[in-house]
C-alpha cells in the first residue's frame, strides 16, 4: 500500500472540514472492507484516509425516531441483519445485509459504506430502494436528506457533494406494511458477489415495488400500482407484461466475469417471479 495521512476526527465538524479541504484526495474509512482492497491494488490512492468511527453522530446503532428507523452510519452488516426493527419492518434489508460477504466481512462492513461505494451489485441497494430509504448527509452547507434513489449515479459515483458525509440512513416505517424479500444470483452457494440482485416489496394496497441491481450502471427501482401483480385472481399471463415492463431498464454489461447478459436478464425474470410470490406469501402471513 502507498502511504497516506490518517486522521481520526473526534467530531463531525472536523470530519466535514477535512473532507471539504481535501475533496477527491480524501477517502472515508468506515468498515474498510472495500477501501483497503482498493488501497492495496492502487485503484484508490488518497493522500488522506479519514476514519469516521469515533464520531459520535455516526456511532453504530439502530433506533426508532419519529416513525423512522434510523441506522447510524458506522453500523455494521451483522447488526443490521440481526436487528429486530429491521427484521420486522424491512425484512429484505436484513436478508441483504446477511449475505454481504462472510461473517468476517459483515462484522466490519457498514451499511453506509456499502451505499456510498455505489456498486451496482450492492445487495443492500435494492431493499433500501424498495423501502424508500434516505441518507442523512452532513456537509459544509449543513444537513440534508437524500433519497437513496437520488444518491446512486453509477459504479463508485454518488450525488454526495464535496465535503459531504453520510451520518445515518433513515427508513420510514410505512403506514401500510411492506412485505419484502431479497433474492440474488451467485456463482456458488458460498459468499459471492451477486450477478443479479433483486428485492420485491408488496403492500396491502396492491402496490408492488421492485428494485434490482447488477444489471446496469446503477440499481433500479420500479413501482407498479395497478394491483395486478398481487392480485390472487390474476393469471401469470396477465402479470407477465407488467413484470416485463418493470425489467425494461435492465442493461447488463457484456463484460462481466460473473455471468453473461442473456443469463442475467433471464434470471431477473425468474427472480422477479419468485420474489413476488414470496413477498405475497409474507404479506398474507403477516410477517
Amino acid at each position: 500500500m502507498h502511504t497516506f495521512a490518517y486522521a481520526r476526527p473526534a467530531s463531525l465538524s472536523e470530519a466535514v472540514a477535512l473532507l471539504d479541504a481535501h475533496g477527491p484526495d480524501a477517502r472515508v474509512l468506515a468498515g474498510g472492507t472495500d477501501l483497503i482492497v482498493r488501497l492495496r491494488d492502487g485503484s484508490a490512492a488518497p493522500s488522506i484516509v479519514i476514519d469516521v468511527k469515533r464520531i459520535a453522530e455516526l456511532r453504530p446503532g439502530i433506533r426508532e425516531v419519529d416513525g423512522r428507523v434510523v441506522i447510524g452510519a458506522t453500523t455494521v452488516m451483522t447488526d443490521v441483519a440481526a436487528d429486530p426493527l429491521v427484521r420486522r419492518h424491512f425484512p429484505a434489508l436484513a436478508e441483504a445485509a446477511a449475505v454481504v460477504g462472510s461473517v468476517q466481512i459483515r462484522n466490519r462492513a457498514t451499511l453506509a459504506g456499502n451505499i456510498c461505494n455505489a456498486s451496482p451489485a450492492a445487495d443492500t441497494a435494492p431493499p433500501l430502494l424498495v423501502h424508500g430509504a434516505s441518507v442523512v448527509a452532513e456537509g459544509p452547507g449543513g444537513t440534508r436528506r437524500i433519497p437513496v434513489d437520488e444518491l446512486f449515479v453509477r459504479s463508485g459515483v454518488t450525488t454526495l457533494a464535496r465535503g459531504e458525509l453520510v451520518i445515518a440512513i433513515e427508513l420510514p416505517i410505512p403506514a401500510r406494511r411492506i412485505a419484502s424479500v431479497h433474492v440474488r444470483r451467485t456463482r456458488r452457494r458460498g459468499h459471492d458477489l451477486a450477478s443479479v440482485t433483486l428485492t420485491c416489496g408488496v403492500d396491502a394496497a396492491g402496490i408492488t415495488r421492485l428494485a434490482y441491481g447488477s444489471v446496469g450502471p446503477r440499481p433500479v427501482l420500479v413501482t407498479d400500482d395497478s394491483g395486478v401483480l398481487v392480485d390472487p385472481a390474476a393469471s401469470d399471463e396477465a402479470k407477465a407484461p407488467i413484470l416485463e415492463a418493470m425489467f425494461a431498464a435492465a442493461s447488463p454489461s457484456p463484460r462481466s466475469m460473473r455471468a453473461g447478459p442473456e443469463y442475467r436478464l433471464a434470471m431477473l425474470r425468474v427472480l422477479g417471479r419468485r420474489a413476488l410470490a414470496e413477498a405475497i406469501d409474507r404479506l398474507a402471513a403477516g410477517e
Partner: protein, 772 residues
Amino acid sequence: MSGPRTGEGTGERIGERIGGSPARVGGVGRVTGAQQYLADLPSADALHAKLVTLDCARARIVSVDASAALQLAGVHLVMTAGDLPQPVPRFGPQFEDRPVLAVGETRYHGEPVALVVADTRELAERAAALVRVEHEVLPPVFTIAGALAADAPLVQDPSIRKPGDPLARTNVLHEHRVGWGDVDAAAAEDGLVIVENRYSFPMVTHFAIEPHAFMAAPDRDGVAVWSTIQHPNWLQKLVATVLGMPLSKVRVYAPDPGGGFGGKQHAKLEPAVVFAALKLGRPVRLVLTLEETFQAVRRAACESRVRTGFHPDGRIAFCDIEADYLIGAYADIADRVVGKGSYPAAGPYNVPAVRILARSILSHTTPSTAFRGFGNPQVNWAVESNLDEGALALGMDRLEIRLRNLARRGDAFIPFDTPADGDWQQAVRLAAERIGWGSPLAVGHGRGIALGIKSGPTTGLSYSTVRLLGDGSVIVFAGTSDMGQGARTVFAQIAAQELGAPLDWVTVVMGDTAIVPYDQQTSASRSTVLMGNSVLMACRSIQAQLRAMAARLHGVDEAQVSVDKGVVHVGDRELTVLEVLKPGLGKLGGELTGLGEVRKDAEPDHPLGGAPAFFEFNCTAIEAEVDQETGDVTLVKHVTVSDVGKALNPLQVRTQDEGAAIMGLGHTLMEHYIYDEAGRIRNLGAIDYRIPTSMDLPLWLHGEIVENEDGPGPYGSKGMSEGALLCVASAVGAAVREAIGVPIRDLPLTPERVWRAIHDTAAPTGGGEARS
C-alpha cells in the same frame, strides 16, 4: 508423557497403531499457530524480494530501466536476465526451457522480468513498481485453436527441442500415442453402436491456501535454500547444477507446505532467489501473492474427441481418443502429465482395441504442472461421459455397462502393463448400493456413476533412516513432503508399531537434504507405499539387530527370537523392546540404526518408463437436483469409494478422499480461468476465482474404502489421495444429464452453462452424435 512400561504388550495403544487413527503428528503445532510455514520462519536478517512482471501475455523486452527503483534507499538489487551467467541458465524437469528470468521475451502473463531486492517487502514492492520495462506487446496464443493455427507464433524456440524433432516448428510439444488392437478394423464391424463426441476441461489453478515462498542464503562456501517445494532432493540437484556446486554444498530446507496438490513439485523461482542471495551475500526471501501464485501454476486444460464403439450387449469394442492438452509457455512437468494421464484413458475396462493420441500443446500461458490427478481427470471427463452416451444409445443401465466391461483382478486391461490390482467390482457395487442406484428418483433429480483410474508411480527411490535411541524413543528420517496428506503420521505409526514405541515417542524428521537421506519425490500418491516400505525396511533392520541382541543376552539361537509389533519373543518369553535394548546396549549406551531403501527401477521399454506400482481406483456416484429455471445444481448425495488396500490411518484416508472429492467439485461446478482477448488472466485472485466453501458441499458426502490388503505398501496398503478426484466431474455430469435430459460436454457446470443447455435446445453443447 510416560514411556513404555515394563510388560507393555501389543494390547496397549491399539489406537496409535496401524489401522488406528491417532491424532495427526504435527497437529498440535497447527492448532496452536506454532507450526512454522516458510513465510513464518524468522528472517530478521533477510532481504525481501518482489517480482517485476508485465501486464500482457507476451512481449518482446526492449529495455529495463531500474534507475528510479535503485534510487530508493534500501533497495539493493534489481536483477534481470542480463545480471545472470550467460547464456542464462534454463531449467525444467523435462526440458531445460524455463529461464531463471525472462530472456528477450516474456511468454506468459506473469513471467518474471526482474527481481527486486530491498530491506523490506514494502520497499521491494514500491521499487518494483518503479522499474520501467520498455516492451513491445506481441500477439499471443492462448487457446488450442490459436496454438495450432498455421500462422501461429511459436511459443518455444525450436532449437531447444530434441534434434530431429519433426514437431519442432509447431506448438505441439509432443504426441503421445498409445494403443493396442486394431481400432479401424473394430470400427468397421457390423452391428456396433458408435458414439462420438467432443469434450472440454477448463484451465484451473491449485489455490493452495499457502502461496509459494522461497528463500536463499549463502551458507559458508555453499548455499542454503528454503522452499515450499514438494521435491527437495530434486531442487537440490537443480541448484547444484545451475551453480556448478557439489550437492554437498547445497542444503535445501523444505518446511511442510501449506497445501501443494502438485503445484509445488517443481522449481519456479528458487534459482532466481539463489542468484540474488549469492550476488548480495545475504539471505533473500520471496513470498508470492496469491495472484502471482495463480500466474505461476495451473492444471492443463484439455479438449478431446472420443469415439467409442459398443456391441449390442454393451461390451466395448473399441475406444478411440484424441486429447489435446493446452500446456503453458514452459513445459515444467506438463508433457509427462499428458503422457501419463492419457495412458490409461480408456478406463479400467477390458477394451480389445484402443487408440489414444494425446498431444501437449504449448501456449503463452501460465506453465501447467502436476495437479492432483495428473492429466487423468481431463480424459476421464470425456471417456466416462461418452460411455454414458453409449449406454443411453443402447438403452442399457449405466452401472450395468460399467460392470460388464470392468477389468477383474489380474486382467491385463492395458497390455504389457500392471494388471488390474484390485477387486474393483467391490468398490463399484458398494458405491452403487450407497447411492441407491436403481431406486426411484424425485422429479428434477438425476444420478450418475463413474469410475476413475490413475497409474501410480512408475519409478521411485526412497531412502530412510530410523534410529532407535537408548530409551526406546525413535527418530525417523524420511524425505517425503508432508503437505497435509499425513505422511509424517503414517511413518510414525509404522515405526511405533514395529519398534513398540508410543506414538509421541517417535519423531519424524523431514525437509532437510543435509540430514535426511535421499527421496526422489512426493507425488503420484507414492509415499505410503515407497517411503512407507522404506521406513518399514529400516525398522526391520533394527528388529534384526534386536534379535541378535536378545539371542546374545539370553544365550539362545537367533532362530528362536522374533520381533512382532514391538514385542520381542524369546522362546516362550515376551519382552519389551526396552528390556532387550537397555541391557543389549550396555553401560556405554548408544542406539540402533536401520536403513531402508526402496527402489523401483525404470523399465526403458515401457511407454511410461515403468509399469505403475499400483493403480488408484475410485468409484464416485452422485445424485443431483437441478433447478431448471436457474441452472443451479444441488448435489444431494455424493458417494466416493476408493480401493486402498489397507488404511494405515483410516481417519486420514477418509479426510484425504473427502478433500479430493470437494476439490473435484471445484472444476466441476465453478472453477476456471477467465482470459481476455489479449491472453491476460482476468480473474486473478480470490474474488473472481471461486473455489468451494463450507456452504458448497453436497448435502451428503461420504468417503468409503475397500480394504483387501492387496497393495504393495506396508501391511497391504496402496497409495491414495488422488482417486476421489478423478471422476467427480463425470459422475456429476451424468447426474445433471439425467436430471435435465440434455448432455453437457464442457466444464465447469456453472448455473449459466446448465441453464443454457436446458434452454438452448437449438444449439446443443459440444458436438456429437450417436449412430448404430
